[in-house]
């Protein structure tokens, strides 16, 4: 099974003008998805301050380009496997904002009617096969979905998102080797935002690039990209998906990024060195992409229309969620087993 290749770091293609490989409609969508994530997450944060978001929640503010780039490159039949920091990836697949906010607010209109909570967003109809809150657990699960695709001769790809800190847990290693040995159509996406919870990833990792520097341990190409550039993400996704669909096996992609907020709602992120956040905010993916659109000839008014539309969607969703009831009490005991119930005895 072992194989060797000449490896070189992948770099994003230089932008090649309005008629480049990405094209106008896709760019519009990439921007829109990023704005949806940004606005919905910022709203989630506001709702938390109003004590309307219960439990915990983990925002992707600053990391939007990754969820957007992959989702836009995916086909509807492709599958997403997310983490507790999965609002972004869920929204990016087209799940209605109100369903996501409803779940964060633990209302009956939520994606899982409040039974799963913010860490477990799932929308099978949109290909979001769950968000997993135990670090590393979903990497092997994504392998299994990919095994099914391979077995059935289906050409869908399983895309698995996780953080830099996740590369140090055992399941990461097992999944990568397993996927490589069986050449599974799975794409592992490491969002390196420089921190696990509150600890800088460099303090607990033996290599500089927690994912990319491990790729060769599984016979995979070393790939590091700018995770704040949605075009770069979109392109690397396309390449990886094509590989997967062609039966060439898994990819491991490290996307460099930064989260603008704390790890979770409880975290003021005081552990950051002075100036770090500010520096990264200059590389805000949405700012970058807005400039890109202008550069590619989009009208300011067209861009503003996208933004206004998203804001309206978020307003509407918020209103709907605020008006929504708490979960129906009956669902407490439903869906433990496939018969719809929870009976463990007769």
């Amino acid at each position: 099974m072992a194989k060797k290749k000449n490896r070189a770091p992948t770099t994003a293609l230089a932008n090649a003008g309005p008629n480049d490989d990405i094209g106008e409609e896709t760019r519009r969508r990439l921007y829109e998805v990023q704005v949806i994530i940004r606005e919905a997450e910022q709203r989630a944060f506001d709702l938390f301050l109003q004590n309307l978001v219960k439990g915990t929640s983990h925002l992707s503010l600053g990391q939007e380009a990754i969820a957007a780039g992959f989702a836009v490159a995916m086909r509807p039949s492709d599958l997403s496997f997310c983490t507790y920091r999965g609002h972004a990836h869920t929204l990016a697949r087209g799940v209605p904002i109100e369903k996501v906010l409803g779940e964060l607010m633990q209302r009956d209109n939520g994606l899982m009617r409040g039974k799963g909570g913010s860490m477990h967003l799932t929308s099978v109809e949109h290909g979001v096969m769950g968000s997993y809150a135990i670090i590393g657990a979903h990497l092997p699960i994504a392998c299994g979905a990919a095994l099914r695709a391979q077995y059935k001769g289906a050409d869908d790809v399983s895309v698995c998102f996780f953080g830099d800190g996740t590369t140090n847990i055992g399941a990461f290693h097992e999944a990568l080797n397993f996927a490589a040995v069986w050449k599974l159509p799975v794409v592992f996406v490491c969002e390196n935002n420089l921190y696990m919870e509150y600890t800088p990833i460099g303090e607990v990792t033996a290599v500089a690039h927690p994912a990319a520097d491990r790729a060769s341990a599984y016979g995979l190409e070393r790939i590091v990209i700018d995770g704040n550039d949605a075009d770069a993400v979109y392109r690397v996704a396309q390449t990886a998906f094509a590989r997967a669909r062609a039966g060439e096996g898994p990819s491991l992609i490290e996307c460099l990024t930064y989260r603008h907020s704390g790890h979770s709602r409880a975290d003021p992120a005081k552990y950051r060195p002075e100036g770090e956040l500010e520096r990264w905010k200059e590389r805000d993916p949405i700012k970058i992409y807005r400039e890109r659109l202008i550069q590619f000839g989009f009208e300011e008014t067209a861009i503003a229309a996208i933004e206004a539309n998203v804001r309206r969607m978020v307003e509407d969703a918020t209103a709907t969620c605020k008006a929504a009831a708490p979960p129906a009490v009956e669902i407490l005991f439903s869906d433990v087993y496939a018969d719809g119930g929870w009976a463990w005895r007769n």
Partner: protein, 326 residues
């Protein structure tokens, strides 16, 4: 009708289900070309080919995680964990993933898979390869848990497990692999959640599972012959769903109950069942419900020591006799 070993029944059971349903796949460590370290899967690779029967790396988390991902998206995987003790290296899937995904997703996700494993003592393998860990699965809400004691039940319960839409943990007993039993020809399909009265009796109920079933039967025979105590022996077979109806019904008739379990004492299935009986059938009981278990210690390797710790027919006879005459 044919006589079959429990070991060969495992093979036949898997083959029966793989022949029936092309979505059934099977994988684990050394299960395919080598046919399994307990030789329970010899010939499946040859019969069903490398696409459906696969050898994996030593990666129990990947094995169970992959089984879950495949189950979630349309296959019916059977995954082998070589020894049940190794559940400890992949316990997240058993405790946190398989059993919770349907509930957390409000019914969107499914998880129809079977994890089969070699459970139990008697091979002089020592503390890390001999445990009975049925309770590790029984204690987790959302799983189903079975443990057959005969070749026939191996086939019937495996078929039921594979066809079940929920995650089923299937405990085979190492020390039963070489035992034989009559098995009908043709397809065998049992149902999960039904206990079996394997010996009717009126003086006391003995509840047993897996290797403890033949020992309980042995003890019952001797109790009758030597002490004129007529015990009903129930093979619990399925811990989840649990056939409390059969169990409580028997206690209502015999008024005394004994559990015989191989796992170490604390928080075993015996404790669960005794607690149910003590609560729901308190006034049926003529005397204390008694658990006969392996003592709460790690298992020793040496044959002479190992033979002292598991419940034996002797110990069952003595316990029942003394308790009934107290």
């Amino acid at each position: 009708m044919a006589e079959l070993t429990y070991r060969d029944a495992v093979t036949r059971a898997i083959a029966q289900e793989m022949s029936r349903d092309p979505d059934v796949i099977f994988f684990g460590e050394d299960v395919a070309k080598p046919g399994g370290v307990f030789k329970t899967t010899v010939g499946l690779y040859e019969q069903f080919g490398p696409r459906r029967v696969r050898d994996t790396p030593i990666s129990e988390q990947a094995i169970l995680g992959a089984a879950m991902g495949a189950a979630m998206t349309g296959l019916k995987p059977i995954a082998e964990i070589m020894f049940s003790d190794f559940f400890a290296v992949c316990f997240d899937y058993i405790a946190n993933e398989f059993p919770k995904s349907r509930y957390m997703s409000n019914g969107q996700l499914k998880c129809p898979l079977v994890v089969r494993t070699a459970n139990g003592a008697g091979s002089r393998f020592g503390a890390q390869h001999s445990q009975s860990v049925e309770n590790w699965a029984m204690m987790i809400p959302g799983l189903k848990v079975v443990a057959p004691s005969t070749p026939r039940d191996v086939i019937g319960l495996m078929a039921a497990a594979v066809r079940d839409p929920d995650p089923v943990i299937f405990f085979e007993h190492k020390s039963l692999y070489a035992t034989k039993g009559e098995v009908p020809d043709g397809e065998i399909v049992d149902t999960l959640g039904s206990a079996k009265i394997v010996r009717p009796g009126k003086d006391a109920t003995i509840l047993a599972l897996a290797l403890m079933v033949p020992r309980a039967l042995d003890a019952a025979t001797r109790l009758k012959r030597e002490h004129d105590i007529d015990c009903e022996v129930i093979d619990v077979r399925s811990l989840v769903p649990l056939d409390t109806r059969a169990i409580l019904g028997s206690v209502a008739r015999t008024h005394r109950v004994f559990t015989v379990e191989e796992n170490p004492r604390l928080c075993g299935w015996g404790a669960e069942i005794v607690s149910i009986i003590a609560d729901e059938a308190f006034y049926d009981l003529d005397g204390p419900p008694v658990r006969i278990t392996t003592p709460h210690i790690p298992l020793p390797a040496a044959d002479t020591l190992e033979d002292l710790v598991l419940p034996t027919p002797d110990r069952i006879v003595e316990t029942v006799r003394r308790s009934l005459s107290a």
